[in-house]
Amino acid sequence: MPELTNKERMAIPRQPMPEQDAKARSRNFEEVNLGLTEELARMEAERCIRCPKPLCIAGCPVEVKIPEFIEMIAEGDFAGAAAKLKEDNSLPAICGRVCPQEEQCEIKCVVGKKNEPVAIGRLERFAADWERVNLGIQAPKVAEPRGKKIAIVGGGPAGLSCAGDLVQWGYDVTVLEALHEIGGVLVYGIPEFRLPKSIVKAEVEGLEALGVKFQTNYVVGMTETVDELLERFDAVFLGVGAGLPYFMNIPGEHLIGVYSANEFLTRVNLMKAYDFPKYDTPMIDVHGKNVAVIGGGNTAMDAVRTALRLGASRAVIVYRRSEAEMPARIEEIHHAKEEGVEFMLLHSPLELKGDENGWLTSMVLQKMELGEPDDSGRRRPVPIEGAVEEMPVSVVVVAIGNGSNPIIHRTTPDLAVNKWGNIVVDGDTMKTNKKGVFAGGDIVTGGATVILAMGAGRTAAKAIHEYLQNPETW
């Protein structure tokens, strides 16, 4: 393609993401977004106006060199684009799928001031997928071994990105994971239709090829304490993720049919309960039943869309604020609506009711209206007096976030945590108050996103590298 002027670039419309038909996909677990074709990707890449001072990079928590990889796609050098991405992001096929680009890199895109921004996330996904399919995941060059050992606690996004950087810099890295599979929320939480597990597996295998060691079934705190780890490792990174799911503390939450989103999604994703009895893990049969998911975040969208795919006749989001306040990605809300998910906005559960055997039968809801903005800047929902209704429901999934997991701080009493049990760190280095111990991801921030956890993992990797140059200081 001849060199285009900026005006010509600006005139190219944002290329559509090919998707599985909404009706068909609402009953299967295959990926919704099919990925850009080479032609669509090159056309989309041509929309980048190659700003002399690109703003997009600063919007990315791991500072991917966005304009450089996009230019390589425009030129048709897809392998080069993938390699460029991996200089800063060890899991590009995952981030290209699950990052909220519209709030990060794409919101900064200069093209987006007048038109729709360049589809940076879709291009990232394209390059990473192209490499995996055509070349297999290519291992970047690894530095000479430094003879220093690092323990990464938790095989989720924070730990994997931390491990990815450190192994490239020549460190001996071991990831210790509590579950029987590596990936954390990428394997137990995010459903197949949004992030195929084969992609997580391939990216983990990529890290393994670089020399990262993985030990599953290992609960740090219980199987080995942080203090014991410090005896055999030079540094420890704690990326143990969010912990205990919050419930609403309303009557009836113990009824059969009430799940936390963590349990509901773990049964389906990690344990493959949708394929019972081939897989032994059961779940409550939702065929032809009403399923309500409480909450308005991405996890709630994942759960409600999963319920549809499991055969629910009605899958309903119940959220106490309005759609404008929903924390979920717009794309997820849009996909959910296309698939037939119902939204009961400005409704807040008051009580869950069951039958004499303890099975959930209905949910009592309080209708709300929006009042003044609260601490989060969102308008506070206030009850409309007397506006109470009851809805018949067989399964309720509570997706209102997670508190911190107590295992690490209970077994590491000198590790500083805040009043919610989240580990306290220095924001620039992810250093905890305990020498040689760093932390990042949801255990520090509370429930957040995959890419923020990855960003924290990378920040910690840099700080661990600096610390190990001079381990006397802290």
């Binding site: 079934n217 503390n249 113990h254 963590n262 032994d280 059961p282 303890g358 107590p406």
Partner: protein, 296 residues
């Protein structure tokens, strides 16, 4: 993968396993449990660690074959491996010198009570063990208990061995005799634990039970194991598994444990069919082999 070193039946459907698990053996304390997955299609189930040997790097578990997973587990022998074992999980038993402590085990519950009985003895208690079983062959670990306890009372529902009656009848008998009891640990089927709690409640005897809810991860992440204790929701995997028996809502535990009763039945049926198919296949293969030998 964790290799099984020793496997033997202690009672009908109740099997003892000694398994290689050095990391767990090193750390485990009485009252803690593991979660295991038999194979890559398996579910994750919690099982209390009955004993361990840090030097040998082994842990012991005792499994009662009830559902598909436990029955499948009980087909394994020494030399076979278990796909995943993680632990030790949960809080260790709270052990101190209470004075006179009674350890009550119903069926396979005796295996779970055993390590805590050992710890109670080591802490200086006068330990009484009541071992309940439906009939004689279900009374397990009697010799092991005799080695560490001051008094051991086997009981059977049908009177085929030891005291004729339920474990609660024996406990009531001890109280009626005027025995001063300071602490009771009761582990077994939910109705048994509930009944023990009602025997000790009027006497104000501190009573602890170990709960066995459905779990997935066992580290606090899923919340599936939540139970009601003292009117509040607790996560048994990280807050327990042992709780004050007088504060546990046993009815909620009973009902939540019935969540997958239909699926469990289905899984068990297909497991039996599968085993039957395998037996038929083996028989056919044997016949074929025999014919081939005959032809040769």
């Amino acid at each position: 993968m964790n290799k099984i070193i020793e496997a033997k039946f202690l009672a009908p459907d109740v099997k003892f396993f000694r398994i290689e698990a050095p990391h767990i053996a090193r750390k485990r304390k009485a009252g803690q449990f593991i979660i295991l997955r038999v194979n890559e299609f398996g579910e994750r189930i919690p099982l209390t660690i009955a004993d361990s040997d840090a030097e040998q790097g082994t842990i012991n578990i005792i499994v009662q074959g009830i559902g598909k997973t436990t029955k499948q587990l009980n087909t394994l022998e020494a030399g076979d491996s278990i796909r995943d074992i993680v632990g030790p999980l949960g809080k260790p038993s709270h052990v101190e010198n209470f004075g006179t402590a009674v350890s009550i085990g119903g069926g396979v519950g005796t295996a779970i009570a055993y390590p805590t009985a050992v710890a109670l003895k080591e802490a200086g208690n006068h330990v009484i063990s009541i071992i309940g079983g439906r009939s004689k062959e279900y009374v397990i670990l009697e010799n092991e208990m005799k080695e560490i306890c001051d008094e051991v009372y086997p009981t059977t529902d049908d009177g085929s061995y030891g005291f004729h009656g339920f474990v609660t009848d024996k406990l009531q008998g001890l109280l009626d005799e005027g025995k001063k009891i300071d602490f009771v640990l009761a582990i077994g089927p939910i109705p048994m634990m509930k009944a023990v709690a009602e025997v000790t409640r009027p006497h104000g005897i501190k009573t602890v039970v170990s709960l066995n809810p459905i779990m997935v991860d066992g580290t606090g992440m899923c919340g599936g194991c939540r139970a009601i204790v003292d009117g509040e929701a607790v996560f048994v995997c990280v807050d327990g598994p042992e709780f004050d028996a007088h504060k546990v809502d046993f009815d909620v535990l009973t009902s939540r444990n019935r969540t997958y009763i239909l699926q469990e039945k289905k899984a068990l049926e297909s497991f039996h069919e599968c085993k039957l198919d395998k037996k038929i296949d083996e028989a056919v293969a044997d016949q074929k082999a025999a014919k081939e030998v005959a032809h040769a």
